[in-house]
Assembly symmetry: C2
Homo-oligomer: 362 residues x 2
Amino acid sequence: MSHKAPYAVIMAGGSGTRFWPLSRAANPKQLLNILNDTTMIQATVARLQPYIPAERVLVITTEQLAAETRRQLPMLPPEHIVAEPVGRDTAACVCLAALLVERLDSEATMILLPADQVIGPADRFQRALQVGVETAHGGGLVTYGITPRFASTGYGYVKVAEELHRSEDGVSVRKVDRFVEKPDAATAQSYVDSGDYRWNSGIFTWRADVVLSALSQHTPWLVKALAPVADSWGSDAFAAALAEAYEPLKKISVDYALLEQADDIKVVTGDFDWDDVGSWDALYDHLPADEAGVIHQGETLAIDCRDSLLLSRSGQTIAAIGLEGLTVVATADAILVCPKGQSQEVKAIVDRLKASGPQNLL
Amino acid sequence: MSHKAPYAVIMAGGSGTRFWPLSRAANPKQLLNILNDTTMIQATVARLQPYIPAERVLVITTEQLAAETRRQLPMLPPEHIVAEPVGRDTAACVCLAALLVERLDSEATMILLPADQVIGPADRFQRALQVGVETAHGGGLVTYGITPRFASTGYGYVKVAEELHRSEDGVSVRKVDRFVEKPDAATAQSYVDSGDYRWNSGIFTWRADVVLSALSQHTPWLVKALAPVADSWGSDAFAAALAEAYEPLKKISVDYALLEQADDIKVVTGDFDWDDVGSWDALYDHLPADEAGVIHQGETLAIDCRDSLLLSRSGQTIAAIGLEGLTVVATADAILVCPKGQSQEVKAIVDRLKASGPQNLL
């Protein structure tokens, strides 16, 4: 069975604050090269190759980030990088994406994925996507689950039901029993022990016409507002039409508009590695450390340190003595010092800055 | 009994590394304004006023530091700021100072003191100096002892013998039994418990002719080498003559050349506060902290921190989360992160830089 080549839609409008002070409102996580020389969105596009060539990739971002996103992704057709004029939550974004993909190919299947995850190896990831696309071709909604490596309280989970299909190379397709929010530690452990739960990757696949049909049923006002805009895509009138259509839209999430309404959701469990890299703490798993567990990025000098992350992007030398489990990040205008395990609290710093701090640090 | 007004000689050639990264070879502790708006050498001169007016103050420094020292002390006669061409330990420095003071006044008493201590209040300090000067006028060598506030292992001690004199306002003069080096913790505690020990302040007073007489007896080659140089003081020939005389000198300390040889040493115990401020840790006692014990200097933002020192001299905001007992110091080219209590280890950083690090950080 051969299908038309699918499209990928990368959701890249996030204004992540969890990597402050490196991430800023104008330079969020997906546009940063925290892990290596490529930015996370560049890596997201690259790991789709060759399965989804660049000309079949769309990016939905914000007006503030559009120019930098285009600069980082010169291989994409410029009009494929679409800037939402205002944030109206994920259902509007998915509806717009589905309308645009449908214009490109009325029978197209689309893979919706975040711009800021770490996934590998690419061939195993693409193999899972391929199974997902084949599954979605028959209708319904496909999500991707990751077998939990530990009892994470930072991820949402998917409870799986009976297996519908298993490929020769072990990619499993099951019915979804239900989605669950981030659990507490004990619940997370019970999920892992049961074997019936997967981490919810936030990656989805469906046919554009299936999405639009579902949205037309549950949130018809959304499709009605955005369908005419899609017709002007590629013309000079598009941006203004999009702004006019978006402004009055009610905020509604794809979880509410699609996932909770759908009765045909399947989950593909692939054997690829996946990490949402949600905070500085996550980097301890992704960057090379010395024998004492100290990660050195930029100019650093450590004496008697263990299990720490020293990251200088300011040109300054970070000189560390006797540290254990400490994250130090230096940028041109700010220095973060925070114990490992508490980097979720970086949000509190950003909140404080929003309330009363120097606004140029946001 | 009225004596001629004494001179003060400030030894200011130290290249302290203990406040790295703020202190540098070209900008050591005595030239820094770590504690307030005045530098430590400026404070040292100021707290002698009005007892020792600026025109009776000499400073012995190094060629590298002379220009900045003159800039910071415009109230001193320029020739009173004398630059040693090379370091030849403290006996050469004291010999030179005594020769210069003797040229100003052949019967002068001189107070020798470091440039980088925190002492107060000034009136009580000056009162102790006054008693010391009166005592030194009768001959012999006078040192100043501080009643220990705690069992410091970072200071040298003076063991006192019988009391020779006590002023009406309680300034005590005793014979010195012996000087002792920095003790271990148990020994330090026994010193404190005994009541017979004082912290050795490193401040001395003696008549210039008494010093020179003692040096002529124990290290005649030193006086012989430097006496002719002193004659050219104030002329253009001085610097070259000093360089020529200093170069071949053997290094010898004032402890060895004077203190260990002298049989008439007295100690004045004043009731002034004294701190050598030997490391970042010492600042915890001298800078104002918030209710959680966090010291904020420069731009800082602390959440859930306790007992920490956050000092930004780089313009960067130090954002700290969940720290306890941590010192963070940011300058334009380096950031120090070091637990409280380990700041003596800063020397290890400087040693590492000397060996292999960027030399511009020294």
